[in-house]
C-alpha cells in the first residue's frame, strides 16, 4: 500500500510513540544493567571482606600466641620510649649526664634530621620507623671509655641506638703531668631509631 503524504503524516504520532516506548524500554534495561553491575561490585567487596574476616578468625589461635610472644617486647619498647616521638632534649640530657658521670674529656656530637627508615603496613595505620643519624667525636683516656659511653647511651633509652661505624685511633699526643691528655680519639656514627605507632594509646 503506497501511502499519501497526508497518510504518512498520520503515522508520525504512532512512530514517535513507538520510539518513545522503545527508548523508555532501553533506558529501563540499561538502568537495570547498571544497577546489576553495581550490585555485583558490592557483592564482590562484601565477599572479600567476609573471606578476610573468616580467615582472620580462623587464625585467631595463632594470633593469640603471637600477641603473647610479642607483647613483652612491645611493652619494653614503650617503657624505653623507643615507641613514640623523638625526645631530642632527653638525648642531649643523657649525653651530658654520661659525659659527666664517666668524666669524659671531650665529647662533641651532632644529630641529623630525622628520616623515615621504613614504614610497615598494618591496621589501623602504618607503623613508621624513623632514624636520626648522630655523629660523636670523643677524646678518650682508655678504649673502655668508648664502650662504657655506648653502653650508657643504650641504657638511657628514648631511642634504639644502632651503631653504624666506630673508629678508634691513637692521638699521638705526649702525656703531660699537668693535665689529663687524651691518648685515644673515637668517632662514631649511631642511628637513633624511634617507632611511631598510630594505634598506640
Amino acid at each position: 500500500m503506497r501511502l499519501t503524504r497526508d497518510e504518512a503524516r498520520q503515522l508520525a504520532t504512532p512512530l514517535v510513540l513507538a520510539l518513545a516506548f522503545t527508548l523508555a524500554g532501553a533506558a529501563l534495561v540499561w538502568s537495570a544493567g547498571e544497577a546489576l553491575r553495581g550490585a555485583k561490585r558490592n557483592f564482590a567487596t562484601a565477599q572479600t571482606e567476609r573471606r578476610q574476616n573468616t580467615e582472620r578468625l580462623a587464625r585467631i589461635a595463632e594470633e593469640e600466641r603471637e600477641v603473647k610472644e610479642k607483647i613483652d617486647l612491645y611493652q619494653r619498647l614503650k617503657t624505653l620510649h623507643i615507641l613514640g616521638e623523638e625526645q631530642r632534649l632527653e638525648w642531649a640530657d643523657a649525653i651530658a649526664r654520661i659525659r659527666k658521670e664517666r668524666e669524659l674529656l671531650d665529647l662533641r656530637y651532632t644529630v641529623e634530621r630525622k628520616r623515615l627508615l621504613t614504614s610497615v603496613a598494618a591496621k589501623p595505620g602504618n607503623v613508621d620507623f624513623y632514624a636520626s643519624a648522630m655523629k660523636v667525636d670523643l677524646a678518650l683516656l682508655h678504649e673502655e671509655d668508648l664502650l662504657r659511653f655506648l653502653a650508657d647511651l643504650r641504657e638511657s633509652g628514648n631511642a634504639y641506638y644502632a651503631v653504624k661505624k666506630c673508629a678508634l685511633m691513637r692521638t699521638g699526643q705526649p702525656i703531660s703531668g699537668a693535665s689529663m691528655t687524651p691518648r685515644l680519639s673515637a668517632d662514631c656514627e649511631i642511628d637513633l631509631i624511634t617507632i611511631v605507632d598510630p594505634a598506640k594509646k
Binding site: T22, A32, A39, T54, V120, A122, L147, K165, L168
Partner: protein
C-alpha cells in the same frame, strides 16, 4: 479503544450494532430507503473514529465455483481479479473463497468459489455514505461468509453441514463443506407462527438439498446430511416436532440461548433474532475473505498500521520491561546475597573482637603490635655492638706483644655499604646471600723486627691475622708493609746505615656475617 460498529443490512431494515467483546447493543435502526440513508449520514457525523463493518443479509447472493491454476501471491490475485471481472459486471463487491486444491490430469488446480451480489446498488449507497463520512471500514461481509465460523462454534463435526437460521431478513440456509462455504440462499419468511416456520424450514431444506444434488454440489449417494437449525427463542420444542430426521437429513435443533453461549455472546441485543450470532461473529471473528476492496478499507488499514506501530513499540517496551524486570530481580538477589555476606563478615568481626578482647591487654591493635615488634627485631638483628669485636681483638693482641695497634675501624652494614677488599678470602657458605656484615679494619705496627726482614714481618702479620679468625670472624684482607706479590714492586736496602727506626705498618681486615 475505538468503537466497533456493525451495520446489518437486510432488505427491509438496516440495524447498527455496537459490538463489545461479549456483548452486542443496538445503536440505531435505519429504514432501507433514502430517509434511512440520510439518517445514517447524520449518525455518521457523530461517529468519527469508530470502526465499521457491514454485514449483508440479502437475497441475490451469487456463488460460482471455478478452477484456477494453483499459483500464489500477486499472480493469484491477478488471476482471480480477471475471473471475477469476467463473471461479474460490477466488481465493487466481489470475493473469491478458496475451496482447496485439486489434482487435474496435467496440473494442480485450485477450486475457488466466486461470490458477489446480483444487485450491488442496495449496498453501494450505504458504502458511499461511509466513504463520504471518512469512516474506517473494516470489511463488507455477508451472512454466508460467517456460516463456517458459526458451524464450527456450534460443534458441527460432519464434512457436510447445512446451517439454517431464521434471521430478521428471512430463512438463511448455508451449505458448509469441509469447513468451507459452498452455497447459501435466503428465503423470505414473513410473519409465520412457530409451527408453520418449522414446517417451512423442513420443506426449504429438502428443496435446497435437492437443488445441491442437481448442481452436483452434493453427491447423490452422500448419505444423510446434518442440518443445524438454530431455533428462535422459545421455539426449540416446536421445531424439534416439525424437524424429524430421515434417510437424507439429520436435523439437530439448537436453542438460540445455547447458540449464544456457543459463540460467547453473553449480552445479545434486546428483541434481536438469530442474526445477532452473525453480527457478533463479524465483530469478533471476521473471516479473511470479504467483499470490500482495498481502497474502501484504506482508512481502516491505515488505522491498523498506526495501531501496529504503537503495538510494536509497546511490545518492545514490554520486552525491555521483562528483561529489565529480570535484571532487577537479579539485582535484588545479588543485594540479598551481599547483605548476607556483610552479615557474615560482621558476625566474624564481632566474634574476632570478642575473642581478642580476652587477649593480653595491649596499647595498640594486634596488627600494629605485630608489625612493630617484627620490624624492630629485624632491625635489631642487623645491628651489632663494637664491644664484641673490641674484646675479641683485645684477646688476640695479648698473644702478640710485638704488635702495636694504631687504628681500629668498626662498621656494620650491607656488603655494599662497608669497605671490602676485592681479594676476599673464600669461606664455607660464602655463596649464601649476606644481608649484614660487621667489618673491622685493624691497623698497627710490628715492633722488635728488622724492617728489612720481610720474611719475619710477613710471618708475624700472617700469624696475627690467622689468630683473629674465629668466633665468627673471617679474614677479609691483609696488607703488609711491602708488596710480595708478583704484580707489585719489592725493594730492599740491606746494610744501609740510614735505616729508618719506624716499625713497619700493616692492616688486617676481618668480617663477621650477621645474617
Amino acid at each position: 479503544m475505538a468503537k466497533r460498529l456493525i451495520l446489518y443490512l437486510s432488505a427491509d431494515e438496516h440495524l447498527l450494532y455496537r459490538a463489545e467483546r461479549t456483548a452486542l447493543e443496538l445503536e440505531g435502526s435505519f429504514s432501507a430507503d433514502e430517509a434511512g440513508l440520510d439518517a445514517f449520514r447524520d449518525y455518521l457525523q457523530g461517529a468519527r473514529g469508530a470502526l465499521f463493518a457491514v454485514l449483508a443479509d440479502l437475497a441475490g447472493e451469487d456463488f460460482h465455483e471455478e478452477q484456477i491454476p494453483a499459483v500464489r501471491g500477486s499472480d493469484r490475485e491477478a488471476l482471480l481479479a480477471r475471473r471475477l471481472a469476467q463473471r461479474y459486471r460490477d466488481t465493487r463487491l466481489v470475493t473469491a473463497l478458496s475451496l482447496g486444491q485439486v489434482l487435474a490430469p496435467e496440473r494442480r488446480n485450485e477450486r475457488v468459489l466466486l461470490a458477489s451480489f446480483t444487485n450491488t446498488q442496495q449496498l453501494s449507497q450505504w458504502l458511499d455514505a461511509l466513504e463520504e463520512a471518512g469512516a474506517r471500514l473494516a470489511g463488507v461481509y455477508s451472512a454466508p461468509l460467517l456460516a463456517p465460523a458459526l458451524a464450527s462454534a456450534l460443534g458441527a463435526r460432519d464434512a457436510r453441514v447445512l446451517v439454517v437460521s431464521a434471521n430478521r431478513a428471512g430463512l438463511r440456509q448455508c451449505y458448509v463443506e469441509n469447513g468451507r462455504l459452498r452455497f447459501a440462499r435466503l428465503e423470505r419468511t414473513g410473519e409465520l407462527p412457530p409451527e408453520a416456520l418449522g414446517r417451512f424450514v423442513r420443506s426449504e431444506t429438502q428443496r435446497l438439498v435437492q437443488y445441491l444434488v442437481t448442481l452436483r454440489a452434493l453427491p447423490r449417494d452422500a448419505g444423510p446430511m446434518q442440518v443445524l437449525v438454530i431455533a428462535p427463542p422459545g421455539q426449540r420444542a416446536v421445531f424439534e416436532q416439525a424437524l424429524h430426521s430421515d434417510g437424507r437429513l439429520t436435523f439437530r435443533t439448537i436453542d438460540y440461548s445455547d447458540a449464544l453461549r456457543a459463540v460467547k455472546l453473553r449480552r445479545p441485543p434486546e428483541g434481536g433474532g438469530t442474526e445477532a450470532l452473525f453480527v457478533h461473529l463479524a465483530a469478533q471473528k471476521p473471516p479473511r475473505e470479504q467483499f470490500a476492496n482495498r481502497d474502501e478499507r484504506r482508512r481502516y488499514l491505515l488505522w491498523q498500521l498506526q495501531r501496529g506501530i504503537v503495538a510494536a513499540g509497546a511490545a518492545a517496551f514490554c520486552l525491555c520491561l521483562l528483561l529489565g524486570g529480570s535484571r532487577w530481580l537479579d539485582v535484588l538477589n545479588v543485594r540479598s546475597a551481599t547483605a548476607e555476606q556483610r552479615e557474615l563478615a560482621r558476625t566474624a568481626a564481632q566474634q574476632y573482637a570478642r575473642i581478642t578482647s580476652s587477649f593480653p591487654v595491649t596499647d595498640t591493635s594486634t596488627e600494629n603490635l605485630k608489625a612493630a615488634v617484627v620490624e624492630f627485631r629485624r632491625i635489631a638483628e642487623r645491628s651489632s655492638d663494637p664491644e664484641l669485636a673490641f674484646t675479641h681483638i683485645s684477646r688476640v693482641l695479648q698473644k702478640f706483644p710485638q704488635v702495636e695497634l694504631e687504628t681500629l675501624r668498626w662498621s656494620v652494614g650491607k656488603p655494599g655499604e662497608v669497605r671490602l677488599a676485592p681479594t676476599r678470602t673464600a669461606s664455607p657458605g660464602a655463596a649464601d646471600p649476606v644481608e649484614t656484615l660487621v667489618v673491622v679494619e685493624i691497623s698497627g705496627r710490628v715492633n722488635a723486627t728488622q724492617r728489612n726482614d720481610y720474611r719475619g714481618i710477613t710471618a708475624q702479620v700472617q700469624r696475627f691475622a690467622s689468630a683473629l679468625v674465629g668466633e665468627g670472624y673471617e679474614l677479609v684482607r691483609t696488607q703488609l708493609p711491602f708488596d710480595v706479590t708478583s704484580e707489585g714492586v719489592l725493594s730492599g736496602d740491606i746494610g744501609s746505615a740510614a735505616e729508618s727506626g719506624e716499625a713497619p705498618r700493616f692492616t688486617v681486615v676481618i668480617g663477621q656475617r650477621l645474617r
